[in-house]
Symmetry: C4
């Protein structure tokens, strides 16, 4: 195990260092995930005797489905961001920029969710689904950028960083862009299939990860 090149002498200070980046990122993630629900619109009341609120609500299923996929996607982003900052212990200016790019891709999620909800089941649905999958692809690139930068020569780690978990994250992240590239190509052929696969991918990434749990238990044992 190589020591990080700039070993930090004051751990309390380090804790503080990443604290505010995490708080700011949590803020952006919490707002983006809550704003998703603003796209759910109440059907306007109608005096028409044939008007059925239940049917009007059910007819909005593409909106609910897009909401569901995006909610899980942002939740998985949060879990990943949280996991990254259990190993990243120091910050520098570059990290703040890369984290900012990641946050930019997150703030755009409500917009593309609205886009796909509006155009699903319409002739333009493939373009909408490709923009949607394209943002997920950009997002996974941003995560990789942030991670490769932080993990290069253990730049932003310290002696408390679990290097097995680092290796695990590196392996896992290599797949992200590939998966979303496949989903993007899929979207050109079938919008609804690309959404279902996106949802499955988010649920898959969100599921309890046996390997991570094992790594944690092992590191707890050795302490």
């Amino acid at each position: 195990m190589n020591p990080p090149p700039h070993s930090a002498p004051h751990h309390e200070h380090d804790e503080k260092e990443t604290g505010r980046v995490e708080a700011f990122s949590d803020g952006v993630l919490a707002i983006a995930i809550t704003l998703l629900a603003l796209e759910l619109k109440v059907p306007p009341p109608s005096g028409d005797p044939g008007f059925s609120l239940a049917r009007e609500l059910l007819d909005q299923w593409p909106t609910y489905f897009a909401f569901l996929v995006s909610f899980f996607f942002i939740l998985v982003i949060w879990i990943n961001h949280h996991r990254l900052f259990t190993v990243i212990r120091r910050i520098d200016n570059n990290l703040l920029i890369f984290n900012g790019l990641l946050l930019m891709s997150i703030t755009l999620i409500p917009f593309v969710t609205d886009l796909v909800a509006t155009y699903l089941q319409r002739p333009e649905q493939n373009i909408a689904a490709m923009v949607y999958a394209g943002l997920f692809l950009v997002n996974s690139f941003c995560f990789n950028l942030l991670w490769r930068y932080a993990s290069y020569k253990n730049r932003l780690f310290d002696h408390r960083t679990d290097l097995k978990l680092v290796a695990f994250i590196s392996r896992q992240y290599a797949f992200g862009p590939l998966i979303y590239l496949v989903i993007l190509i899929l979207a050109a052929f079938s919008a609804i299939t690309s959404l279902v696969v996106s949802f499955a991918a988010a649920v898959f990434f969100a599921l309890p990860n046996r390997s991570v749990q094992q790594l944690k238990d092992e590191s707890a044992d050795t302490l």
Copy 2:
């Protein structure tokens, strides 16, 4: 008192572990509770000499009432979430997912509040009130899921967890889904009654809880 199965050796670290889940949840709750007020709309000005701003504002009472019920509901959710995380001291991947499902049901509250405010006093009010009560029911299920998971074999507790408070919460939570199921059935018959009962339930849950206070005082005495 059984020890938690995975006893945590580092308490400072544990504090940090739940800290970010609480911060993210606080963010979502704070945004959802503040967005509720966005549904209050300013009546558009009118050149009509018979126009009365006071009457226009008073005519919006269903909106204020729905706002009030939902505000107290989210406030009670926050108080409960806060109380849970005084006993839950550790996190794992499953907890993050269950907490995410709970947050999803919270982000939907402004939408169903708008729905019930729009349709109260209209022919479709029962369906709107049933959707509203239905979300509360889902919310209480999510709370139970989170709690049962965390408390099963003291999974996510540690030696500082007050086990009397744990038993109290377990008893209290068993009633939540039942109460909201009754409110849901009530909504099919009378929308306004179901809202009044929902409000009463929220105020009741929000009231100073003698038992919890006693438990706290007792545990303070023994320290």
Copy 3:
């Protein structure tokens, strides 16, 4: 100096206790103050050759003025809330409810700001200004409720609480409701005057408070 009735044995734990109430309140305050600016609307473009964007923007001055008054009002609320929680060191269920009522009055500020901005310079401006001042009055009542509850027999203080600052806050808070009652009566006669006085009151409360600063310096000296 009377000791607080329930002296808290664990200070680290107390810190944590108020921490999450402060974080949740900060969230609501931060969102409410940021949402104020959403009421500033971009004038829609017009092909009319006589259209002047500068004049259109200047014509919106009631909106800017209402924004300014409300922004300073929320800022002063934040400063006060922050000051309260430098002396309040413990929480209980009642405090969470009283704080919740205070937060409810805060989330309504963007709505009444929009109301007053829409109706200023219109025949209904006095009713709008009275609703606006009425909410400020309710807000100052909520602050008093929270404070009287916390300070009664030093209920939620501990040995670190500066009792001189407590006496100062108690004296200052007795005036709040009176000032906003006067502004409310004023609003019935002149909407614009009541807004100017509200703004002056907020700036006055926001100004560096000589007495508080002195108290702080004294308590620093004695340490």
Copy 4:
């Protein structure tokens, strides 16, 4: 090195002191940066056979461009605010007001972004761009006010404050208003050029700052 005039005896307490100002500011910054994306509007579906979603989306480029410039601007503000509060260790009432003025200029960014996005490529684009640049100028003045106040006779620093970093920030901040004044004048002649230069300025300020990094490394070496 002169000692700060009011040296603080309790460092833990100081940490807490700036903590809540940072949290509140983070909240406002996180909300403002996330609300930017609300201005991106989904093109309404059209039954017209000549309707192209891709072209409709591409035609919105001024909105994306304004979003991009403002996003980087707020990100740079956050990085600067974060850097300031690594040296500012104490707060007083004046600082809360100056920070509040800075936050006010930040909450207005989504509004002026919407303004410039709406009027770019229209006859009124120069006025819109001047309002936009004007807000950036006001923002850089607020930053200077906050900084000059905090750094005057080391008022709000303590013994841990890195005085080399202080000198560096003072030099850097003297340029901010000048740069934005030039951009404001430029906006009167070419709206698009002023935006490009604003973007370049934000990217420039966001770039890893060699001097700051060096200062940090040096101070780490001497510890």
